[in-house]
């Protein structure tokens, strides 16, 4: 039985971290939006680690915030511990990570959705994607979705954010359940409908450790890990004073030879080693089985015991995800100092699910072959809450832009980690759940978490997700930074007694001649703030402005080198390849390059050059061909004029 329920502008399938951002973006832009979830109680669920941020992921959260997304604001309201990682390293790799109160985070996001106009929340399993023939060559157009109960929702765009729910299967040793994460219902019908629409699916796998009852843990045998004394918020809109809360601790313990022995003795019962799991798992969060086998020479592994929230006594065992049978789990967790009498609340498990080969997407996150169909999150073959959220945001924005008849938002590799992430997904071969890493961002000195607002607020404003007031505030900040950088590069400091004494105080070599203030700031042992006493005309500036000035001066040489590389990079990015470009018409392309180019359909020459199998000579050939086409066209139109 099927019936027409209602018409919407946008349908979002899934209310995880990607789905929520997508739905919020569309609704905030005034589009009638409906978000589907298999369980309204599980909106923005964190089924794995209880934290948001971390190396490079913290950057993503800041970027989401600068574009007008929600994740940063909500974690600032619900975190229970926070740390800036890599503080002893350069500013480019400083990364904020907060422990979340999972229940509060989920509740907060539900509250956000509920208080957003134009947004409908619906608990239902979407079972079918509805499409029709588009007039264009072999491209289809999305018309809506159908739920398993027969309701049809027509829409102009659909955003798929199905996470790990499609055909999900959870494994704990020999025990297999056909459920999604955390025992939730799996979505069993949509995969088939996607295949019928020509979507190519992969099978990926991930896993999570056990949760242990904190009341059964002996913390005296572990090392305490406290949060930072001064907490920095994620969101640029959060008042820094509001996040100076009392924090809870995490705890550090270690595996030992006995743990490893138990694992080795039971490897034949591990679904991965027994060959029951077909999906490809991520290398960066290996199960403890994998760690013991692959790094056999390590006699211990670090294990972090992290609270899941303040309403629960459950503790997350970071570093020990597993798909071992329950009895082996019991035994192995109890070998850890402090966990001798531990009781498991929830088992560790591995989960397998359907996702897509993301090379089917444009960088807008729209399907190349189904107009109006967008997707984000783990469904796109990524992993992690933050990776999901930022894709959801971009997919939502671009669905909205398409409906509104406006230009899509594509961030390039020199503008944001989000740009790197999406470009990697749609351009490179992806064989495992994709995780963001700072090493993937080649211009990372420029893409810092501290300047995400300076990089992206303008774009958020142009899209309509950032208020005018906030945008002007960032413009003002930019001006102040510029002026102060100019000032410290100009101001001369003489070798006065006061100056020499200050230098001596920081173990810095005394001056022989006068230097600029900037030159002193650049010395490793000094910085902008330390020089305050000898800088008489210093204006009163906010600390985020000071931070930028300090970084700019200290790393000037490196920053300008990267800036130069970016200029070269941009040149090729600007050379757009038309969507209907026919690679078969280009003579002299090598066969491999031709095949890859036809498959990926890059949007620019720059993107083409990053596809493996496309050589620099192929790129030259493309350039020349496109140029000759242009000249040909110009020639023809000139003739027409005559």
């Amino acid at each position: 039985m099927q019936y027409i329920e209602e018409n919407y502008d946008v349908v979002v399938v899934g209310a995880g971290h990607a789905g929520c951002e997508a739905a919020l973006a569309c609704a905030r832009l005034g589009l009638e939006t409906i978000i589907f979830t298999v369980s309204v109680d599980s909106i923005a669920l964190m089924p794995c680690n209880p934290n948001i941020g971390g190396s490079s992921k913290g950057h993503l959260v800041r970027e989401i915030d600068a574009l007008g997304g929600q994740m940063g604001i909500n974690i600032d309201k619900t975190f229970i511990q926070s740390k800036m990682l890599n503080k002893s390293k350069g500013p480019a790799v400083h990364s904020l990570r907060a422990q979340a109160d999972k229940a509060n985070y989920s509740m907060e996001m539900r509250r956000t959705l509920q208080s957003t106009d134009h947004l409908t929340i619906r608990q239902a399993e979407v079972s079918e994607l509805l499409t029709e023939d588009a007039a264009q060559n072999s491209v289809r157009r999305v018309t809506g979705v159908k739920t398993v109960t027969g309701a049809v929702y027509h829409s102009k765009a659909v955003v798929l954010c199905t996470g790990t729910y499609l055909q999900a299967r959870c494994l704990t040793g020999e025990s297999v359940t056909y459920t999604g994460p955390n025992g939730l219902m799996a979505a069993t019908h949509l995969s088939e409908s996607l295949k019928q629409n020509g979507v190519e699916l992969f099978r990926f796998k991930t896993g999570t450790p056990a949760r242990i009852d904190g009341r059964t843990i002996d913390y005296s045998r572990m090392e305490e890990q406290k949060g930072d004394a001064r907490v920095v918020p994620f969101s640029f809109t959060t008042d820094p004073e509001s996040v100076q809360i009392e924090q809870v601790s995490c705890w550090l313990t270690y595996t030992n030879e006995r743990t490893h022995e138990i694992i080795r003795n039971n490897l034949d019962r591990s679904p991965i080693y027994a060959g029951i799991i077909e999906g490809t798992g991520p290398r960066y969060c290996p199960s403890i089985e994998d760690k013991v086998v692959k790094f056999a020479d390590k006699d211990r592994h670090q294990i972090f015991i992290e609270p899941e929230g303040i309403h629960t006594t459950e503790m997350y065992v970071g570093g020990m995800s597993s798909s071992m049978p329950e009895d082996v789990q019991q035994e192995m967790y109890r070998t850890l100092p402090g966990l001798e009498h531990a009781k498991i609340v929830r088992n560790a498990y591995a989960i397998e699910y359907d996702c897509i080969n993301p090379n089917q997407l444009y960088a807008t996150l729209e399907f190349k072959k189904i107009k109006g169909l967008f997707s984000g999150g783990q469904f796109n073959g990524s992993s992690g809450y933050e990776e999901a959220a930022c894709q959801g945001l971009i997919a939502g924005i671009n669905a909205a832009m398409q409906i509104l008849g406006r230009e899509p938002l594509i961030l390039d590799r020199s503008e944001a980690y989000i740009g790197v992430l999406i470009d990697d997904l749609v351009t490179k071969e992806n064989h495992e759940p994709y995780r963001m890493m700072t090493s993937r961002a080649e211009y990372r000195l420029l893409l810092r978490q501290d300047n995400a607002d300076l990089r992206l607020t303008k774009k958020g404003y142009e899209i309509g997700l950032i208020s005018k007031e906030r945008y002007e505030w960032v413009c003002q900040k930019e001006r102040l930074i510029e002026q102060e950088v100019a000032r410290v590069s100009r101001v001369h400091i003489g070798a006065s007694r006061e100056v020499q004494e200050l230098l001596e105080q920081y173990g810095s070599i005394p001056l022989k001649t006068g230097v600029t203030l900037a030159e002193l700031i650049r010395r490793p042992e000094l910085d902008y703030e330390k020089l305050a006493p000898i800088d008489k005309e210093r204006p009163q500036l906010a600390c985020d402005v000071i931070e930028q000035v300090n970084i700019f001066i200290k790393y000037e040489g490196y920053l300008s080198r990267q800036q130069k590389q970016v200029e070269n990079f941009k040149k090729l990015e600007k050379k757009r390849i038309p969507e209907d470009f026919d690679y078969d018409e280009v003579p002299s392309l090598r066969i491999e390059a031709r095949q890859k180019l036809k498959l990926y359909r890059p949007a620019s020459i720059g993107q083409a050059s990053r596809i493996s199998g496309v050589s620099p000579a192929d790129v030259s050939v493309l350039l020349i061909y496109m140029d000759s086409m242009r000249k040909h066209r110009d020639g023809v139109s000139k003739k027409d004029e005559i």
Binding site: Y284, S439, P524
Partner: protein, 465 residues
């Protein structure tokens, strides 16, 4: 068009003729001024377009050659950019030396076909020629890639591979610590890292200083002819020496067993050593000769292995093949005028058995007696050591210069890392330059970077949740 400045040797190398280096791009004039001293003390930037000037090329204070320089400012030039052409007295060594100098003063070595590409993109070449331009670029690139890789000796490529994998490993270590600071720590890392990096710097500098480049062209290619007795070694040498084009000088060898001859093979100098058969022997007098032969094989730039195809392979051949894995070698299937007992296929099979299936040798059928196959031999030598585009439509380049440029790029990147360490910069800025060094060395081997770093991180370091 805003583009960098490129340079290449633009004439085929001819014996003793005039050679030309072409520079194109917005800095062409200033780059040229950095290596030139014109007659009358003026600089090219003072000069009018489309003029010719007499002067000298200098490397610091050392005079390199007497030259005529043509100045053509864009857009009235081949590429429509500023173009400088330096005409010198030729000689492969001088040409390369000037090209290297130009590169070290701010130009970049042109990609194969790049002058033509620019000429096209800047509107100099007609639309109807676009297709042939594309074909030319693919062809030149493939050729450059093939000859570039073939030109590396096993030792050199092994060393570059080693340095690369060390660079990758160090980078991966730093990156894994940045990505997962709670599991992997960089505490106390900089001291051993600095040592390792200094070592890598030394090795790169060594590679650069001994790069075969200059030496081979200046002093000639030290060549050893090996083969069992009566394989035709001496007649091959005589044939080469009797070729009309060969300029012959005789220098008595250091011993009676090893005789060195110099011959000029159309511009390339070969220093040829003829050796006794290599067979293990107990006769003490003969043994000295055999030892010498082995020594010279080890030190040689090129081995010419003469195979007598009219008789079966014997233990001499086996001994020789054992020694063939390191030095570039050409296999000469001699006595092609007689009925063959040994075929090229069989030789290949044998060589793979001795040297591993990944090494490939170029085989040439010759008849030393009748003088056939000598042209092919000459072309092969030329290709191995110079890789010149002999067709020379618009440019000609020497692949070795490409190797050297990549090596010195890698070295500058390593030096930048050392400088960053000295300046107290944090570890995350090192890896950017480390990866640049890795990438430069990859160019020599024709390898792309792609996912190497991420793979190495996961392979070598235990990460995460």
């Amino acid at each position: 068009m805003e583009q960098d400045t490129i340079a290449a040797i633009s004439t085929a190398i001819a014996n003793g003729g005039i050679g030309m280096i072409r520079i194109s791009g917005k800095d062409a004039v200033s780059v040229a001024d950095r290596v030139l001293r014109l007659h009358g003390g003026k600089t090219l930037s003072d000069m009018k377009s489309h003029t010719i000037h007499y002067g000298h090329v200098y490397d610091e204070d050392e005079i390199i050659d007497e030259v005529m320089v043509t100045l053509m400012r864009g857009p009235k030039s081949y590429t429509r950019e500023d173009v400088i052409e330096i005409n010198c007295h030729g000689g492969v060594y001088v040409l390369k030396k000037i090209l290297e100098l130009v590169i070290s003063r701010g130009a970049r070595l042109a990609e194969p076909g790049e002058f033509t590409k620019r000429a096209f993109l800047n509107g100099r070449i007609d639309l109807s020629q676009a297709e042939s331009v594309m074909e030319m670029i693919q062809a030149k690139n493939e050729y450059a890639l093939r000859s570039s890789v073939r030109q590396l000796s096993g030792r050199l490529s092994d060393e570059i591979r080693n340095i690369r994998s060390e660079l990758l490993h160090e980078t991966a270590y730093i990156e894994s610590a940045l990505d997962d600071p709670e599991h992997i720590s960089l505490d106390g890392y900089t001291v051993p890292f600095k040592e390792k990096l200094e070592h890598i710097r030394e090795r790169l500098q060594h590679l650069l200083s001994t790069s075969e480049n200059g030496r081979i062209l200046k002093e000639g290619i030290s060549t050893v002819i090996v083969g069992k007795p009566n394989a035709g070694k001496s007649s091959l040498l005589n044939t080469l020496l009797n070729e009309e084009r060969a300029i012959v000088t005789n220098i008595a060898g250091t011993t009676r067993d090893v005789l060195e001859e110099q011959l000029n093979l159309n511009g390339i100098l070969l220093r040829v050593t003829d050796t006794a058969g290599i067979r293990e022997t107990k006769n003490p007098v003969e043994q000295i000769g055999v030892e010498k032969a082995r020594e010279s094989m080890k030190d040689a730039d090129l081995i010419l292995y003469v195979v007598d195809t009219s008789t079966e392979l014997d233990e001499n051949d086996m001994e020789i093949m054992k020694l063939l894995d390191q030095t570039p070698a050409l296999i000469l299937l001699n006595k092609s005028d007689l009925a063959p007992k040994v075929t090229a296929q069989e030789m290949e099979h044998q060589l793979h058995a001795f040297c591993g299936s990944e090494t490939s040798f170029r085989m040439i059928s010759v008849s030393a007696k009748e003088g056939s196959g000598m042209d092919e031999l000459e072309a092969a030598v030329r290709e191995m050591f110079l890789s010149c585009e002999v067709k020379g439509e618009d440019e000609m380049y020497v692949t070795n210069v490409r190797h050297k440029a990549a090596l010195s790029d890698a070295l500058s990147s390593v030096l930048l890392v050392l400088k960053s360490m000295e300046d107290g910069m944090p570890e995350d800025v090192y890896t950017i330059d480390l990866m640049n060094a890795y990438r430069s060395l990859g160019l020599i081997l024709g390898e792309e970077v792609e996912e190497d770093l991420v793979n190495e991180i996961f392979q070598s370091f235990c990460m995460g949740k």
